[in-house]
Symmetry: D2
């Protein structure tokens, strides 16, 4: 950590800051420039509150040099994390295909979609039971019943299931869900993250609409620091000034996260764009950029979906797309070998 | 609501869409342009799922004409909402001053600050008991004990207290908190919003870091639709590309919300900027722009605050500032009269 | 165009608006809703000033239904534009590889790089002669001399050259440049765009840092409306809240522009990310998403580049990358066939 | 400047970097941390290319400690810059009111508005002759004739005139314009900035739509480094995700720039919001926040303005508003005294 002092700092305050830092086991290297003094702090600075130091009268700015996350940091865990989910794996060179409807609606619907996406090569079934909707007047999902229908579909197809938890009070209902998803709007629901860190199921954290890579990794760190190392990251578009697409899909997240962390990275082109015509090209782009998997909405009747219909593909379109995806992934693996 | 169709829509699908809309009691006005057909939907369109219609093959775009919120909408409630909190009022031409430390730390601290800010003219005491921190390694607040200390300070000074709830599981602890704050990161924690709608205390909703005015009002609508009409809106800066300030304080929110809603609007320059030197000018600016109140961090010892120190004013600085604020507010009221 | 009126509009003002519109040859369809009246305007609305109508007292909002660009619009020009540049083509299923240094520095440098990138399969040589630098104290490029060196490299290799113009006063110097680039900061330099529309060389317009797709296409429209239909669009990252990368590369631009326009789309992962380690994965991702080409910085000695060094690949790394790019493109074309 | 090295840097490359820096007269302070080495660079680092150093294989990150601008920096010029324009001053505790129509249309219009705003207390007349319009099909301004009409209005009223230059080729036409405005879209038109630095008229630089404070000050630095120290900064809203207002007015710019620079700061609420109902509250807010002046659009007939009509006030509304503005400014000055 670098502390940049204001010109001519008060000597007593400087002494007091130095003593406080030394008391925390931090070593201090002082650089005296032409117009400013800089302190280089060496040691375990992850417990130092950057805001607190910034608050001091004599301090102009504080810049962090080391990442504030440890468990999620590739520097300390160079090997890729591979997560076993049912009989499939996430990470480690595999390509996870999570497919299914935005919302679970009926038993017929979810089982029909589950069979279809399995036949097309999907490795997990996704479906929303609790739906975070901007409007209180919109359909909010089937709730607990939706989770039961997902389990029926799993029993029928063998596909592990992924579904979103919205609140700590729902945790019991998710005991038998294979991957628990944290939505973008809950990415910094820290109580939920801590609770998910103390249970054994893998957790998939969607990136918040305006969350930096670092904040996102800090949310993973919350889960990991609470004891659960099985964390998957899912990019689903960030909020920008552009309104033609619902959000702006940030595929740079793939190589950036590959560098910063050992956790697997899934891309969700369906929610990011909000337009199903954009899903196929961006899914292929994400695979070529090197993601560990995709989350794709598939619906047996897009025109009558009760929520988030616009970005759903129907099973036929998904089948076509997934063939291209798997073939592209195979080609890329071969190239590397 | 306006539905813009693609060129040459399939007649059966068009018929089917029209029947579905008519079945929902919506009237349809058709405009046939040179290259496109437009449907003007008239009636109660707030229950129509805009995404769902957008999903149809024959639809190019859907644009909403009416606001999707009702309870929060000034069109249907032209009078300003005034909220009674203890012996003070929020809204209706008053100026609410919520002041206090970011985090409650000790009994001495909170009582000392409470007395000081009351003497300077604050009308409520704010203090964090549960703290949403980006890092799991940062101080997370005193929790339930912090709320008890706030109540002691209230008993001592008579100031109503404002504190942030982070999770539905904490609701019992907040039964005796005068204004329950929903933080920016929880603005779309819909389960929490619904729960707060079913209890009697006023709720102050901070704007999410990348939330539009409409999304913010929809969060208010969640609380109001669940039965609690006492909602206060608090602007605390939005996330932009500019990194010099922590966030970008959006003072346009004041006249915009004044037009769109009848709910009171509070401005928080402390969190928005993250720099205490910016608090005073922006607090005055907010008052002249016409806000209903301010939320200002005040700490008895900024340099040793355990959280969010940088934006705290000490009681002396707050006293100076609040004198200017109150005098400016008095001047502006006089001008208007 | 849809005009949403305020509740209870003044009848005289409404009459006056209607007459003005009819006078412009616009047909008006009126929809009377429960609380608002909507006018659907039919005809050539591209010449109507949306802001002007919005200004009227009786108008609440105006929404455009048709795109305001014509020449660049795929609706009116369904076929892909293919641009001949020297002996190579841009668009129409080809993959253009523009490679070269950020700045032209010396004759040796540019010729060495030109030979290297040609050997690796590049189809054009790019190099900056006039450099838009944030700081007046940074190297501003070799200017006219840089253009001469580029021509020498072209003579040596046969590669067409691409270089950035910064001001209308430089137009004569660019008479013999094969593709004239308009930088992101000049995307709305309308005088420059008009001038480039009246000369015969192809123009490549980089997307402005915070420009929407529509604004970008309107800049293309400026060039096309002035008579030059040979316009190439180049996505180079947009400004968002994320600061880890220099900008956020928006690969959704590829399928979106494919839908909206017939003009070719080039992706520049080098400037977008500002980090050379991210160039390779995103270049491959862009190809799989369906771009018409790439702009990649290549330098013979990245560590000593005089400008924008960080995102340069050296010729060896570029050779490796371009092999993968060409092989991926061949694979994808084969898949489609 | 701080250079953060990657773990285990190559010793030869490190030696070479150090020698290069020492050769530039930079002193190096080395801090060896637990996992990383940090170099603190001391001396005149403003000429070092941060990107170039970042490009080195052994470098992980580079952080600037000192501002890259000198002439515009308050550290080196503690006194406020006060600019004489005709018989009025900008900066130094005065309140400049630039008022007038978006576009100059006719002699009657501009003279009528000029007289009206002068009577209401405006200190300068603004009017657009060359208009930067997103669409090539929109009215582009009267051009040179517009400037002549402005001069007539100046002759009639004595008000100095402010107008926007769009291109270096127009410079002769602006020789007799009192303040030359650089528009937001041209903020980084570096050739234009340099040219304006070599002529004697004051220059008002509007903030680019997505420009940081630092980039904005670097644009001022371009003008100042070329010899013209009379630079005025004008905040006119930045581009964010919020679309209700045209842009988001950033009033934090006032105290931030007051701290960073000695140049005067003008606020333009008209363009920022794009809605005339928001102009009055934000103009008052800007004054209370401490700006040096306002730029307000005033039109004699808002409904028939040929460009940017929606944000124009008519002379009556401006008169009412300016009375409040001047009275607020007088109150605030009195308070300070």
């Amino acid at each position: 950590m670098i502390v940049i002092l204001k010109p001519n700092p008060n000597p007593d305050q400087l002494e007091s800051l130095k003593n406080w830092l030394l008391g925390k086991g931090i070593q201090i290297h002082t650089s005296l420039g032409t117009s400013q003094m800089i302190l280089g702090l060496v040691g375990d600075t992850s417990t130092l509150d950057i805001d607190l130091i910034n608050a001091l009268d004599i301090v102009e700015d504080v810049k962090r040099v080391q990442e504030p996350y440890k468990n999620a940091n590739r520097k300390f865990h160079p090997e890729d994390t591979v997560i076993q989910v049912g009989n499939t794996q996430v990470g480690g060179g595999t390509l996870t295909i999570m497919a299914g409807p935005c919302s679970v609606e009926t038993e017929e619907q979810i089982i029909e979609v589950a069979k279809a996406v399995k036949a097309s090569g999907a490795t997990m079934l996704r479906g929303g039971a609790f739906k975070p909707r901007t409007s209180p007047y919109s359909f909010q999902g089937l709730g607990a019943q939706g989770l039961e229908l997902l389990k029926l579909a799993r029993a029928e197809t063998g596909l592990p299931i992924v579904s979103e938890i919205m609140d700590t009070s729902q945790i019991k209902l998710f005991e038998d869900v294979d991957v628990i998803q944290v939505g973008a709007r809950n990415m910094q629901n820290f109580n939920l993250l801590k609770l998910l860190g103390s249970q054994p199921k893998p957790v998939m954290i969607k990136r918040g609409l305006s969350s930096t890579y670092e904040e996102w990794l800090m949310s993973a760190e919350y889960v990991m620091a609470s004891g659960n190392e099985q964390v998957i990251l899912c990019e689903r578009g960030i909020r920008t000034f552009e309104t033609y697409t619902r959000n702006t899909l940030d595929l740079s997240a793939i190589p950036v996260l590959r560098h910063l962390t050992h956790l697997p990275v899934i891309i969700d082109p369906s929610h990011a764009t909000g337009k199903y015509a954009l899903v196929a090209p961006l899914a292929l782009g994400a695979v070529a950029t090197g993601c560990d998997g995709l989350l794709i909405e598939v619906h047996n009747d897009p025109a009558h979906a009760l929520s988030d219909g616009p970005q759903s593909l129907n099973p036929q379109a998904f089948d076509q797309l997934n063939k291209k995806i798997l073939s592209l992934h195979a080609f890329l693996k071969e190239q590397e070998a």
